[in-house]
Symmetry: C2
Subunit: 228 residues, 2 copies
C-alpha cells in the first residue's frame, strides 16, 4: 500500500513539473500561432462549452448570418466522430476536423497543424469549436484572439462559480437555449451577477437557436471583432 | 519554431509514458479501495455526467427515497465550491467534499483519503458524485463497483457516439430531464440504439426530477445493487 502510494506521489510530483513544461511548450506554439494569425489578418475565436451546450447549432446559425459578409473557416474539435464537421460543412465554409482520440481539449500544436491545410490569407474569421468540456479547454491557449463560452440554461445557474476558470478566461458568454428558461429554475439575474463578479468586463448574450433569439446581436458583435 | 516543437514532442512522449504510470498507480490504489469496500460490505457507485446534466438533483431525489431503507454516504467532487455538498448534507447523510482545485476528475487516491473520514462498516451504499465532465472521469478507476452516467435530454442524442468511453464504462445510463423532451429534437430511439450498439448490456432509465418521473424504477434498481 505504501509502495504504491509512494510511486503515485512521485509520479504526481513529476506530473506537476511536466504539466508546467507541457503548458510552457504549448504557450510557445500558441504564441507562434498568434503571430501567424496576426500576419495573415485573421481573427480567431476559441468556442468552448459543456457537451450539449449547443455550440455546433449556434455555429450553424452564426455562419448562416455571416457567410455573405466575411470569409470564415472552422476547425472542429471532437474526440472521435466527424459529426459536427459534417454539419458545419453544409454551411458552405472550409472545415478542418481534429479528432483528439479521446483527448479532452485542443492544444496549440493541433491548431498549428490544422492551419497548414487552410489558406489563412483568404480568411477573415477562424472559429475553433473546442471539445465539449467546461474544464480542460480553458487551460490551453491555442493562439486565439479571444475565447467564448456557451452555457446552456439547462445546465443551471451555479456553473460560473463551479467552473470559474473558463468564465474568467472568456471575453464573452452566451446563455444559450434561453427558450427553455420557463421550464427550469435557472436564475438569470443570479447567474449574471456571479459572472460579472468573476469577470467584470465579460460580455453576455442570451441566445436561442430554436427560437432565433439574440442571434443578430451576437453576430453583430462578432462581426465587430473582425472589422477592428 | 522547430526547437519549441521538438521540446513539445519530447514532452508529449514523456507525457504518454507518465500517463501510463499515473493510470497504473491509480489502478493500484483503486484495487486497494475496492478490497476495502468489499471487506466493509459497502457498494460504491461512481456517478458521472456533464456539468448541468442534473447529477446533484438526481442524487437529492435518490437519497430522499432511500435514506430510510439503507445507510448511505456521499463523496462530492467539485473543482472549488462546496455548493453540492451543502445540498446533499440537507438530505441527512454523511458527505465528504473533495475539491480538486481545478482538476477535471476524481482519482483513486482522493477517494482513499476521503474514506478515512467515513465509517465504511456503517454504510451500505457510497455514492461518489464525480466532477462534471463527460471525458476525463471515465479514465480513472476509483475502486467503485459500478459507474453510472447521467445524460440530460437537452445535451442532444449524439452524445453516446461522441463520448463513447464513458458510456462503454458505465453499467447504467440515465436519460435525465426527460420532461424537456418535447422542447428538444432529441431522438430517444436513436440514442437508445447508439447506446446499446456501444454497450449491449447497458441499463437505461428515463428520469425527470422536476416531474418525479422514473425515479422509483431507478431507486428500486439501485437498491437491488446493494441487496445483492
Amino acid at each position: 500500500m505504501t509502495a504504491g502510494f509512494q510511486l503515485l506521489l512521485e509520479d504526481f510530483d513529476l506530473e506537476v513539473k511536466l504539466m508546467r513544461n507541457i503548458l510552457g511548450a504549448n504557450d510557445e506554439i500558441a504564441a507562434l500561432n498568434r503571430k501567424m494569425f496576426s500576419a495573415c489578418g485573421v481573427v480567431v475565436m476559441n468556442l468552448m462549452g459543456s457537451p450539449g451546450s449547443g455550440k455546433t447549432t449556434l455555429l450553424e446559425k452564426t455562419l448562416a448570418r455571416l457567410v455573405d459578409k466575411i470569409k470564415i473557416a472552422v476547425i472542429e474539435g471532437d474526440l472521435f466522430t466527424a459529426k459536427d464537421a459534417e454539419r458545419i460543412e453544409r454551411q458552405g465554409v472550409d472545415v478542418i476536423q481534429i479528432n483528439t482520440a479521446g483527448g479532452c481539449h485542443l492544444d496549440a500544436p493541433m491548431i498549428q497543424k490544422a492551419c497548414a491545410s487552410l489558406d489563412l490569407n483568404a480568411i477573415d474569421l477562424l472559429i475553433v469549436e473546442n471539445v465539449g468540456n467546461l474544464v480542460c479547454p480553458a487551460e490551453f491557449d491555442i493562439g486565439e484572439n479571444f475565447k467564448a463560452v456557451v452555457l446552456s440554461i439547462t445546465e443551471g445557474d451555479d456553473k460560473p462559480l463551479k467552473y470559474p476558470l473558463i468564465f474568467k478566461e472568456s471575453e464573452v458568454t452566451l446563455f444559450n437555449k434561453i427558450d427553455l428558461l420557463p421550464f427550469t429554475n435557472f436564475d438569470l439575474q443570479a447567474a449574471r451577477e456571479d459572472l460579472t463578479t468573476l469577470h467584470p468586463t465579460i460580455k453576455i448574450f442570451e441566445t436561442s437557436c430554436t427560437k432565433e433569439t439574440g442571434l443578430d446581436d451576437w453576430t453583430t458583435w462578432l462581426l465587430g471583432k473582425v472589422a477592428r
